[in-house]
């Protein structure tokens, strides 16, 4: 900041601003701007609602908040909001675990063995572009309307990034790292365990991150069809009951959950791959 000030012809004016309390300084504060941005957005929303731009189906932000609190306390279809959230989360976690346990080993195998890659990749590339939602009807026909069909759809969505990133992670390990080990007289086992696995770990981990957010997106789609609990169910109920505030409240909870999941995964990554972290600047 000081460098910019030195180059500025109006140094004296700004010099004063730096030391004393001023409106300009407050206005340039990042957090103040955050608050302004959110308030403006809410005001615009409120205007839309009050002016009835979308007819009757635009709730005021304050109504959404009331609905949110209401749903947390009073059960909807026998379950409160946290219970619905947990229903969705449980599906995501089960499906994610299955996707990782199948996807990562398959991807790793494809990365190591060109034979395995040649056998698996045509099938994989055939299925990869199909959106998981396209499987809903089949899943219901095969597995019924219960949990299994929903988990199945989420697995379909979540397994793709697991396979893809594990495959590329293993395949794209820098050759010079392998050469360095080979020069030191290391054997193939050491190359795999001490070089290839740790070097590909960040890529695989990134795959898990994408996979988890895919799973969270897919669970809602799965729940839009014939679910009796979960966040998707809340949104369907909001539509059926003509309660847009319920839909928006559901959307907010979904977004917040996605945000918290990605935060948690980021922390996890910092813990598992400490070498990816930058040095904290002391300035």
């Amino acid at each position: 900041m000081s460098k910019i000030l030195e180059a500025n012809p109006n140094t004296e004016v700004l010099e004063g601003a730096r030391s004393s309390f001023s409106i300009k300084k407050i206005l340039y504060n990042k957090y103040v701007l955050y608050v302004i941005s959110i308030c403006l957005f809410l005001i615009v929303l409120d205007l839309f609602a009050v002016l009835q731009v979308f007819g009757n189906f635009m709730p005021r932000p304050i109504e959404v908040l009331t609905t949110l609190i209401n749903m947390t306390v009073t059960p909807l279809a026998g379950k409160t909001l946290p219970m619905h959230l947990w229903a969705s989360l449980r599906r995501v976690l089960i499906a994610f675990a299955i996707a990782v346990f199948i996807g990562v080993p398959v991807g790793v195998l494809m990365g190591f063995s060109s034979v395995a890659n040649a056998i698996i990749s045509p099938i994989f590339h055939l299925f990869k572009p199909m959106p998981p939602i396209a499987w809903i009807s089949l899943a219901i026909l095969w597995l019924g309307i219960g949990e299994a069909s929903k988990v199945f759809i989420i697995v379909i969505g979540a397994i793709v990034p697991c396979i893809l990133n594990s495959y590329n992670g293993i395949r794209l390990v820098d050759e010079s790292l392998k050469d360095a080990l080979r020069m030191l007289g290391g054997n193939r086992r050491q190359e795999i365990i001490e070089v290839i696995f740790p070097a590909s770990f960040p890529a695989i981990f990134a795959g898990l991150q994408i996979s988890l957010s895919m799973a969270w997106t897919t669970v809602l789609a799965a729940e839009l069809v014939g679910a009796r609990e979960g966040m998707g169910f809340i949104i369907v109920m909001g539509m059926n009951l003509s309660k847009p505030s319920m839909i928006i409240a559901g959307m907010i909870v979904i977004a917040l959950t996605a945000f918290m999941i990605s935060m948690a995964v980021n922390y996890l990554e910092r813990w598992v791959c400490p070498w990816k972290t930058e040095l904290e600047t002391t300035e």
């Binding site: 050469d179 080979r182 020069m183 007289g185 070498w275």
Partner: protein, 251 residues
């Protein structure tokens, strides 16, 4: 041609030839490297310097001829050959200290010896302060120093260096060259250093091999017996440098 070696030969290269299909890259190369000698190899661009090193390191097999270390056919499993690549090749998931120790771990050095050599090398390359940093947290010249430290730490029979300072600016290179000589004098390692920089070769080497254009042969051998530390402005230094430059000219 090898008459002027005083040190006992450590590495012997006999009739080394390499073909890629019809392209003859190396043609019948013979030379010795003395025990603890610092040998520089210079040559015009594209003369197959890297191929040459890859053959010496046994990363690729020769078409004909062989390389012997202590009169035994060279074998990375048996012999201790170290390589410093053009690009720094530190393991990104190991700290500076773990990277330097890694070669010794692969070679199964006893724990105490490893700790000793680790401390000594880190001091020599001045990396003790960043022992616990990861390669992504240090500059690329420091990364290259880590790779060099790792290569020296295993006490190699033969250390191959492929233009390790090619990417660095001149000032830093001078500094690192001095550092390299210091480490080499301390560890008495046999070094083959490939470079296209003639000044660097004259500054570092005890002996310089000048390669010809493809198909590559050894065109000349220049002995550099200037006292250390050498000076770039020393008339003798300049004389040798001019001589090597003449030899290398292909135009």
């Amino acid at each position: 041609m090898q008459a002027c070696i005083q040190k006992e030969p450590k590495v012997t290269v006999n009739n080394l030839t390499k073909r890629f299909g019809n392209l003859l890259v190396l043609d019948n190369i013979n030379f010795h490297v003395g025990n603890g000698e610092f040998l520089c190899i210079v040559g015009p661009t594209g003369c197959g310097k890297t191929t040459f090193l890859n053959l010496l390191s046994k990363l690729i097999p020769p078409t004909k001829g062989n390389i012997c270390i202590d009169n035994v056919e060279a074998d990375p499993k048996k012999h201790n050959i170290s390589f410093v690549f053009q690009e720094p090749s530190c393991l990104p998931f190991r700290t500076v200290k773990e990277n330097i120790a890694y070669g010794m771990q692969v070679k199964k050095f006893p724990k105490q010896l490893m700790e000793e050599r680790l401390q000594k090398t880190m001091e020599l390359v001045g990396l003790t302060d960043c022992a616990d940093l990861y390669p992504s947290q240090i500059s690329s010249s420091m990364e290259q120093r880590v790779a060099i430290a790792r290569a020296f730490a295993v006490n190699p029979d033969l250390l191959l260096m492929d233009e390790p300072y090619g990417q660095l600016d001149v000032k830093l290179r001078y500094y690192l060259e001095d550092e390299l000589i210091r480490i080499w004098e301390e560890f008495k390692t046999t070094v083959i250093f490939v470079t296209h920089n003639i000044e660097e070769a004259v500054y570092l080497a005890e002996r310089i091999l000048v390669l010809s254009n493809k198909p590559t042969t050894i065109k000349a051998e220049v002995k550099v017996d200037l006292p250390r530390p050498r000076k770039f402005t020393d008339p003798k230094f300049i004389e040798i440098r001019k001589h090597v430059t003449e030899l290398i000219k292909w135009w």
